[in-house]
Symmetry: C2
Subunit: 504 residues, 2 copies
């Protein structure tokens, strides 16, 4: 009876957060321009209500009563796990003083405005003061949350529970050692890059990528695909999980891989067990979210797996290139499957993270993580960032950074108060290979991949990853699924094999 | 300071209700089929929260404090009006015992399922028991709300503040006397009905009706048009007011007039003063709504005015038929403006309310109102409804009702617990003529209508109706705008003139 009270209260908070997600989805896909201000107020009201309910006495009492009822239950009892996870989320939320929450919300608004202006004007000095205050506030949040090894851990842990800066540094070191020579080798590959610049009508891109998303397992009966400036996935319980894409006539990969990336996120949310779908919420320092995955990194692993491990694989295109050619017969008349596979896997160091290919993407992440850790611990100063950025881009990617707009000012994250989330992109890349290489040891999965039947892969992922929602930690999921802790070996093996084939 | 507290609290309730409206809009336009159940839970949670906030001690204290602060303010002080309106909505909501609210919500779910089944199977007996319980519950609600003259008044007043059954009966009597001979006369008109059945591509219908909606004053910068099975308008403050249409290739009027009807509703919501837009809510017995208009009837008057008084007028098509012909050149090659005007105004008695033309629509409303009043006061029994229905349709429309599916089972309203709302359709029709005939006395409005410039009409409506939101009663708005109480004279004059021209 008392666990039921806890469950009902949590479900109500989840309902509100799902409504916030719908308000957000709508604001990015459907809302007329005039609606911006009122929508901001609506979201603020609902987020505030959810926060009040999550940190209120009612839920606290429900937690205590449920704990009492579950005393003696085994530690893997799902009810106990739910209660303890909610308690931990709330404790984290409650640890940040209300004054700091308010200051952080206010600063975010100022910082975003300053960032937009500074980026447009290539004026880092104009952004520096507010960035300095943002980092100070992040240090205050670190102080409130506490940490064991390194202050940056407190922030990273929010997005990737259990992750440590020391562990990241080890992974980064291993990646650098392998990727730098691979990248040098990959630059030698012959690539017909003009293939992708041809004109591919948007509606056909949409149809083809949707059809393949369905075959990869995304359920349009519990989802839909719309246009957005920055593609994203968002859900309102497992029964309604929406994805977005960005289609441009002269950029085919945007229309294909962005959709399969988001479909990978969507598969995760659609595959969470019914029992977790309406009764879970997670939190950063100031906000609550209705998100069902174990961590940002685990979520990204699912999107990268579909996008890169499957969608950019040679086998995938050996099977499906003739289907793409059937819908773009003129554009691809002089293109072989080998030409196509090469061009969608070509490695070219570039200045902008969101345009980076698989071989260079992690360098963008590494340099950002190192800067975040340096700023939080106090080894680096905001004023020095442009120079630090230029040095790191030169050393990792061999490129000169002509302007701060194309450098330190390119990302929205810091102005949104998101510090500590960048590492989860690389964690996700690594996990995608670790999980995929294990999945392929399953005979049915491998046979399916050979023949273009992706349902065995979907089942494997659902069984090993998706269904658990947030009831297991990313580390436990990895261990149970692959028998090992997070390791970059499989990822490096995948990239090495790709470069070998690119340059064969 | 204390009025500010009231204002903030009301705005927060309004925010939640706007979120409910978005959840509703989405469920009817965008939501994948799988989302139904979770969406129902989300809406129930938010409505419950809004209800708790509206009937809670916090708002009650804010009302008392604001009243104290505003003691001595003139009765037309907008702050005082806002406080008293909120107090009245809450008092109404609080008068219904929580037990009755819960029972009513549960019954609604059962009743809708039973109705869908009964309608499909033409099985009135299968629906009768749950309809009996619905009417019992409505009588309980009447008892809780109280009334002065007739029990039906308590229900009607919810949708049309100040309206009485005695007043409606007088209006209905006048309408019957005028419309029965008009309808007999109108049947003689020569009409080329096959014109409308031709194939009009949906996208062109959408473009033409959207373009005209813009010229009629609907602002797409604060709105959008989507598809829905049953067209509707819904808003999330005045800055985001959306409309929907239903387009079928072989039913051109559906594509045009439904859009202009909803655009009329939209103009109302978009025209409400900024100061009322985020601080108002209204309520039926169990739900709250973020709706800004003075009443259901006043809202319907604005949709009918655009749809019928303007959109079906001879002058409108004299001005714009060549534009329609330009986009449908083949379909309309042998059609004159006279042919077209006749066919969109033709009167043909039919069994289904939502397909009825302007001359027969009110008969559908009258018979439903008479049945509702009879059931509530106890003069009629649910078991007798099929026969009563057949008798009334025969006497008003001269038609035989072949099945209950095409008769008493056709509307969703009763199974949704909406009793007392039907009269507002006829009230809206009447008001549309009363307001339009007055507006036309304004030289600028009349000149605009002559030349196809609808901005003076929009300004007149905004000044006299829209801007006030719910700060004035429908009766006060009518009196201030037209100098008279609600009267059917102008409506009957409009319909008489139309029939005269149809049969000239």
């Amino acid at each position: 009876m008392s666990f039921a009270v806890f469950e009902t209260e949590t479900a109500r908070i989840n309902d509100i957060l799902c409504a916030v997600n719908l308000l957000t989805w709508d604001s990015r896909t459907m809302m007329p321009a005039g609606g911006v201000e009122a929508r901001g107020q609506q979201i603020a009201t609902l987020v505030g209500l959810a926060r009040d309910m999550a940190t209120g006495d009612g839920l606290q009492r429900a937690i205590e009563t449920a704990r009492a009822e579950l005393r003696g239950a085994p530690s893997d009892d799902l009810r106990l796990i739910a209660v303890e996870q909610a308690a931990a989320s709330i404790a984290k939320l409650s640890r940040i003083p209300a004054k700091l929450v308010a200051a952080s919300t206010t600063l975010k608004t100022q910082a975003q405005a300053a960032w937009v202006k500074a980026r447009a004007a290539n004026d880092f000095a104009g952004f520096a003061p507010v960035l300095e205050r943002t980092m100070e506030m992040q240090r205050e949040i670190v102080g409130a949350l506490g940490y064991e090894e390194h202050p940056y851990d407190a922030l990273v842990d929010t997005y990737e529970p259990g992750m440590r800066w020391s562990k990241l540094q080890a992974l980064y070191g291993q990646l650098q050692q392998s990727l730098i020579p691979l990248l040098a080798q990959a630059k030698e590959a012959r690539v017909r890059s003009e293939i992708l610049d041809r004109s591919y009508p948007v509606e056909t891109q949409r149809q083809f990528s949707s059809m393949m998303a369905t075959r990869l397992g995304y359920d349009f009966g519990r989802g839909r695909l719309d246009d957005a400036v920055h593609p994203f996935e968002i859900s309102f319980t497992r029964s309604d999980v929406r994805i977005t894409g960005r289609f441009r006539e002269t950029w085919l990969p945007g229309g294909l891989f962005a959709v399969w990336h988001e479909a990978g996120h969507g598969l995760y949310e659609q595959g969470i067990s019914e029992q977790f779908s309406r009764s879970t919420f997670t939190t950063d320092f100031v906000n609550l979210y209705a998100v069902g995955g174990a961590s940002f990194g685990m979520h990204e692993s699912q999107s990268r797996l579909l996008e890169n491990r499957v969608g950019r694989s040679r086998r995938f295109w050996d099977l499906h290139f003739h289907e793409l050619k059937a819908v773009f017969p003129e554009q691809l008349s002089d293109v072989s499957v080998d030409d196509f596979w090469r061009v969608i896997n070509a490695a070219r160091p570039s200045l902008i993270r969101v345009e980076a290919d698989e071989l260079t993407y992690d360098f963008h992440i590494m340099l950002r993580s190192e800067i975040e850790a340096g700023l939080i611990v106090g080894d680096m100063r905001v004023a020095d960032l442009p120079e630090i950025w230029r040095d790191k881009v030169k050393s990792y990617l061999g490129l000169d950074v002509p302007t701060d707009t194309l450098g330190v000012l390119q990302d929205v994250h810091w102005s949104s108060g998101m510090v500590g989330s960048f590492p989860t992109y690389t964690v996700g890349n690594i996990m995608s290979s670790q999980l995929f290489s294990t999945a392929r040891k399953d005979a049915a999965v491998e046979k399916g991949l050979e023949s273009g039947d992706y349902m065995p892969l979907k089942s494997w992922l659902q069984h090993n990853v998706h269904q658990h929602g947030r009831s297991k930690s990313p580390g436990d999921i990895l261990m149970a699924a692959t028998g090992a802790d997070l390791s970059a070996d499989a990822y490096i093996a995948d990239l090495s094999a790709k470069v070998a084939e690119l340059t064969a």
